[in-house]
Symmetry: C2
């Protein structure tokens, strides 16, 4: 029997140089709100999402046929952009058949930092079960990359990483302190995740901006089975070759309890 693939957590993009990316799957996590919004856009029929680091690069797509630009800094929509970073902005058909170009404070930067990995995929509670099935199916060494806040540790991304670990660890070799701690924090939070996340600094930032409903939405599990995956610099919907046998855990059932 071959060795199991490894599963680990990098708690901040600032620590990513410590983790070799060769031949690895990296799951980029920015629960509030970038990776949630990316899942929504792909779910809602966007052809692709181009994550760009600078607002200038994002702005260069403005007015191009078939493109929508969205820019956020410090939780706020940037002036001159069509949209910010709220998942609600991308519902109701607005992105269907379009390419969304998105630049956010942390999430799009984390994607760029991870781009040399074997594959980069996008995770959020919205696609939790689809994502975890996908990484288990791939069976490769996997790194969960928390986008954090300007390279500082953040709570919500860590909890999400802990959820992935808790519910997939039978399929992987998990052996790091960051994975252990993330799982503990998930277990601490899962009976009342909103209450827990309310104590995070980014919740306070977003609440101040009046977007508490965004936070609630970003914590809702399994609303989509879209798994955005990076191909040639843009996120597209992963094709699902799901041949796992037996019952698979659904986060939805857990969190409803």
């Amino acid at each position: 029997m071959p060795d199991k693939a490894t599963l680990d957590v990098c708690l901040s993009p600032g620590l990513l140089p410590l983790y070799p990316l060769d031949n690895k799957v990296v799951v980029v996590i920015d629960v509030l709100r970038a990776t949630t919004t990316m899942c929504v856009a792909i779910d809602q029929g966007a052809i692709k999402v181009i994550p760009v680091e600078t607002l200038e690069e994002c702005f260069s797509y403005k007015g191009k046929e078939g493109y929508i630009i969205a820019g956020e800094r410090n939780g706020r929509k940037v002036e001159g952009f069509d949209f910010g970073n709220s998942p609600f902005e991308f519902m109701n058909g607005i992105v269907k058949g379009k390419t969304l170009v998105l630049s956010t404070t942390n999430g799009t930067r984390a994607i760029r930092l991870a781009k040399n990995a074997h594959q980069v995929v996008i995770g959020g509670f919205l696609n939790f079960t689809a994502l975890t099935r996908w990484i288990v199916n791939e069976g490769k060494d996997t790194l969960l990359l928390c986008s954090g806040w300007r390279d500082k540790f953040n709570l919500e991304d860590t909890i999400f990483a802990g959820a992935v670990i808790h519910h997939t660890q039978e399929h992987f070799l998990v052996d790091s302190d960051s994975a252990f701690a993330a799982e503990k924090l998930y277990l601490n939070s899962r009976r009342n995740m909103f209450h827990f996340v309310k104590q995070s600094s980014h919740y306070k930032r977003l609440a101040h901006l009046g977007v508490v409903n965004d936070v609630k939405y970003c914590l809702r599990p399994d609303l989509t089975d879209a798994v955005p995956v990076l191909k040639d610099g843009a996120l597209v919907r992963a094709s699902i070759k799901d041949d796992l046998e037996g019952e698979f855990f659904s986060l939805n059932n857990q969190l409803k309890k």
Copy 2:
């Protein structure tokens, strides 16, 4: 009434550039084992402890009158050095009246990285209550610096930071996700800290080297009221100007329960 001083946690030396150190107290934490060993050495009457980053620098003190050199890499004593990094090596009068020159994998490096702070002090469970009284007395903005393992997050230093936060937060302004997470992990661990720490990667490393008793000792609270503080590049015993009123929490009483 003046604003309270802040209390925060940096989870890895790799993230230290994110935290301004001007006018701040930095508590360097390397519970297993460097900062515990430093507390023991000062408690046992060492005049000072010189933390040095390279083994070469450490070795340059070899044979000098009044100096003892100790070097550890990856948990092991380095050949040619008088001692390694086990707290038990520095008991029984061996360091009394001497200067200990010490180089370890993580802890001595963290001290060097923090050296531009207003003050650098050394924390471990051994001096928990003395240390917390000391930082509360100082009343300055304080950063708890976890030494980690080669810049990766580690569990035992984070738990210690969480203990400091939990038991001093009424005196400080605490408002970061890393502080919140560290406190949660401490609360998860405190009823059976050894069991919890057994799941850390450094425990496994040390257990493999046969020094489980070192780990148990490093988790024992309040064995000394020595607070090592950095002065001119060397750690000396802080003078205690303890004018706090009222009952002060003792970790010893908590953990005994």
